[in-house]
Amino acid sequence: MPSDRIELIAPTGQAWEAVIRMVLGGIADRLDLGFDQLDDLQLAVERLLAEGDPENPVTLSFEIHEKGVRTRIGPLRDAALAEALQGPEPPPGELTLPRILSTVVDSYGVEEAKDGKLVVRLEKLVQTQ
């Protein structure tokens, strides 16, 4: 099945997060994700949006395929974030963005990093019941 794609360009900031959560809700419905999976995905996206540049909009793309949804968010603001996301797993007991992401999505990665900016990819798979 070819993937469907939704793309949003949104201002960074909490005022628009409700719109983004609603879009994710619609996608979760299409994929039959459980309520907790939707909540996890929303949390991952919210955490990354917090790394956006407040002065510039962020682009979110959602590729919906039969196994789940691939989300791309960027540009996010600093290279330090790329290092953290690409670095080794944080030690147990340390609460970091990588640990949060690895808990709430199936996988994540930094897809593009140039001019100090990056795009983060999140994969959320439909859990087989």
Binding site: A18, R21, M22, G25, G26, A28, D29, D32, L33, G34, F35, D36, Q37, L38, D39, L43, E46, R47, A50, E51, D78, A80, L81, A84, L85, P92, G93, E94, L95, T96, L97, P98, R99, I100, T103, Q127, Q129
Partner: protein, 247 residues
Amino acid sequence: MSSVNLATENDRELLRRYHEHGDAAAREALVERHLPLVRSLARRYAGRGESLEDIEQVGAIGLIKAIDRYELSREVALTTYATPNVVGEIKRHFRDKGWAIRVPRALQELNGKMGPTIERLTAKLGRSPSIAEIAAEFETTTEQVLEALEAGSAYAPLSLSAPPAGEDELDPMETIGTEDVEYERTDDRTSLEPALAALPEREREILRMRFEEGLTQTQIAERVGISQMHVSRLIRRSLERMRSQLG
């Protein structure tokens, strides 16, 4: 006493006059003096469907209560002591009024039933229900369910930070005015660790269960004895608080 110029007395002296001698004029002077603080705090809650004047009046009640409850043995400024009282009074007002922003009644009602229904479906299905399953339970559309879930953030939003009725918890706003520990800012914004220690014990424990033990929200809800939706809110709120502390 009435010949004394109350405007020149310091707070402590006025409090002493009021508490030790029942000087009502001293109490009035304290209220007048600290009304700008009330107005400043009330402005934070403007635009939620209540006039600023009404919010200020509610806040003023909090100020009066703080003055009345103040103990002279306290080594704390009245403004420090009054701030959480004023904020608490305003929050209680909004909590009693219900929704912080205008949400259609049907969505409010649907949202109110959402938590228990999700709990029941989770127990019945042995997993978290899908949006469609929740909609089927309410005999409504998935769009309505999503709107009702989202409307939940209009009730007790993060900035208002009111917990769901009946679920007691510490509130970030109630820490305003107390002697907060200064946490060092860190350039490594991906690490929330330094701010973790500032959270209430229960929230730290919930984060630990979620991100260290890897428990699901449903499992945490069972263990802690609160709803899954409340676990979700607490996790979000805790992470947000930690981030804002790190700046």
